[in-house]
Amino acid sequence: MLLWVVAALLATAVAAVTFSQMRWASHAVYVACAALCAAALGLLVLHLLAPDAGTSVRVLPLGLPWLGAHFRLDALATFFLIVVNLGGAAASVYALGYGRHETAPHRVLPFYAAFLAGMNLVVLADDAFTFLLCWEFMSLTSWALVMTQHRDHENTRAAYIYLVMASFGTLALLLAFGLLAGPDGHYGFDAMRAAAHSPALSGLVLVLVLLGAGSKAGLVPLHVWLPLAHPAAPSHVSALMSGVMTKVAVYGSMRIIFDLLGEPAWWWGLLVLCLGGISTVLGVIYALMQHDLKRLLAYHTVENIGIIYIGLGLALAFQTNAMSGAAALALTAALFHVFNHSLFKSLLFFGAGAVLTATGQRDMEQLGGLIHRMPYTSFAFLVGCVAISALPPLNGFVSEWLTFQAILQSTDLPQWGLKIMVPAVGGLLALSAALAAACFVKAFGVTFLGRPRSAAAMQAHEVDRYSLLTMLSFALLCLLAGILPGLVIDALAPVTVSLIGDRMPMQASIPWLSIIPITASRSSYNGLLVFVFIALSGTLAALVIHRYASRALRRAPAWDCGFPDADPATQYTAGSFAQPIRRVFGELAFRLREQLDLPAPGDIRPARFVATLGDRIWELLYLPVVRGVQFGAEQINRVQFLTIRRYLSLVFLTLITLLLVLAIWP
């Protein structure tokens, strides 16, 4: 019956094409999408909670003629479908308000519904062909969505890079499935599970999957398209792409690595761990350097994906050494972070979208002081920032805490490589957590606090109630997930059981709703108690002070050490805020070149300071490839301008070579 919901989504997509010109079309389509996603969500939650939640398989006559299209709903798929449909429903409701300003609705509506349907189908697919079909269909629809403002060259370039990288990823996955399917082509997933794969083959498949799914999720060497494409799409779509599509990519890698491939080798965990570690640090450092709000959030997705892959790497490492308890913990941490990230990243993108509609600006250098004009949006954005920087009462901290607990299990790993790498990656994770906090202090501080830096920021106004409703409900969800982590962990148990065969200890029975990952003596954390503690002591202090000390309050111009300067330009901007960190990590991540030309004394020319950041990965990895292709095209292009005689000599040479081959060979 879930397939009916997806079919309805596709129907709305087709319908949207026909009456996209109508005024009420955008309203109708988004309401339909929201309703369908909510229905799917309901069905899934029921399926998750139902005790005998067996896997239901459905075969349709579509797809490969002799195989048909297999769809399967098991624990892993249910969890990811919940994430997809939750994000989808929220984005659709958000779009009700945000969509009104859409200039070309006919370019957004049909692809939006198709995009949701595509994501649902990918998670449901149970054979290689349907999986890849829906995977690439998802990229195609999101490419079209990124292309909405196609007049701006920057968007078309971003969309082009995105679809080329997506096609590279699909081809890598195609090769992986080809290897798994074997010579006589058993493309069904269940056939792949049954078939025994040689370690060398499964090693190659792992690398291919990391290339394929990793490029879609945004692991570092392959992340280049993400910060270009995600901001280019309309905000509710970039929220979906960052919050949900990257999770579908994570689902893809998990389904293949944990489900289809058999016994993992030890170096798998090491490889995934290193990739995750590098992605976290580089992702957040790049994010710190941005001054375009949506691009900052997109780069930050790379960091969170890195954290998820660290969790997966740990799970793989423990699984190879048959430490299933620790593996279950690591996997639950990764899945919990998937859920959290989809929550707060979508919330932050909604906030960025609200800022965009209110001020028409994405560049933080033009914003500032929005907290006074957009109180609710700024509160929701603040909750998002606190959650994403993994600060205690909220959900970001819980998943990071679980990952740290998993890292602390690393002493029992026999392989030296892992034993050394795991704490080192733990250090990287800690570094990126701190940098994330720095990044979101900058994002919130420069955008919402201080004085407005431009006229647009001056006349900002609060967004409509649909956007606010979604943002505040997601903020509440972040708080709930932070306070009651035990519930979420128990909900994740069937997923880890299906993938690894073991689960974290039962959390529901622990008193005071705290969570104990391994044993009570080892470590425990109680979100609710910490939150209640802070709230109580804060209000207690405020009451005592107001009651017994003074309540007097007076407004006056800012002190600013005695010489207040009203010009907003004196405030710290995004660039200057990140300057100390840029200086510390400058050379590491990008070729930092700072030119400062001070005019000679007496010369009234203004001093200029230019800091240029080169993106090392783009220059070392992508430019050589592009130049190589251009060179190849240039050389081969000469064949186009030969004379007839030379073409004839080409034919003649081929004939002679073939005859020679025949003369020599048989």
Partner: protein, 219 residues
Amino acid sequence: MERLVFDIAHALAGGLVLVSFMMLYQDRLSALINIFAVQAVLLALSVAWQAYMQQAPHLYITAAIALLFKAIVIPVALHRIIKQLGIHREIEPVVGIGSTMFIGIGLVALSMVVMLRVTGNAAPVAREDLAFALSVILLGMLMMVTRRNAVGQVIGFMSLENGLVLAATGAKGMPLVVEISVAFSVLIAFIVIGIFLFRIRERFDTVDLSALDSHRGGQ
């Protein structure tokens, strides 16, 4: 008697290969056309001889067509075109005459090796004919590749077809030989008319193909 019959067929086919070599040697256009006419006559004789050997009367028609068309009509037409269009006399070969000849010998050797190894159990006459036919074809192509002049290329193409007709007649009992030779002669007629009709000479000042190439499609 059997020996003599085989020897004559062998001599005629060998003659054809020899004439192809002579065509490679020519550096003036009108001489080239005359040598081509000689080759056409030789082809007609060998086809007629094959007809006599295989008692296949329809081959006589092919011999007649070869004689009439290729030996007489087309060379005369080409001569008139050269005079009327004022195409300049000498042919600028791309590769020197000496090296072309050298390559030609190599090609003949290759075709001998390839053909004789392959047609192990066919009739001796057929084997001979096919081997010579393949060498005439390869020499024809060599001619087309090494000549800048459009007419030179056309003659190379026509000698290539002579090789084909020789091969067709060599294969005993092959049906449709007549139809194929007719088709080819129609093809050649097309070429000649094409040159005349499109007035390659007038539209591009020289018939040198490099002038033609400047108009090849843009990017």
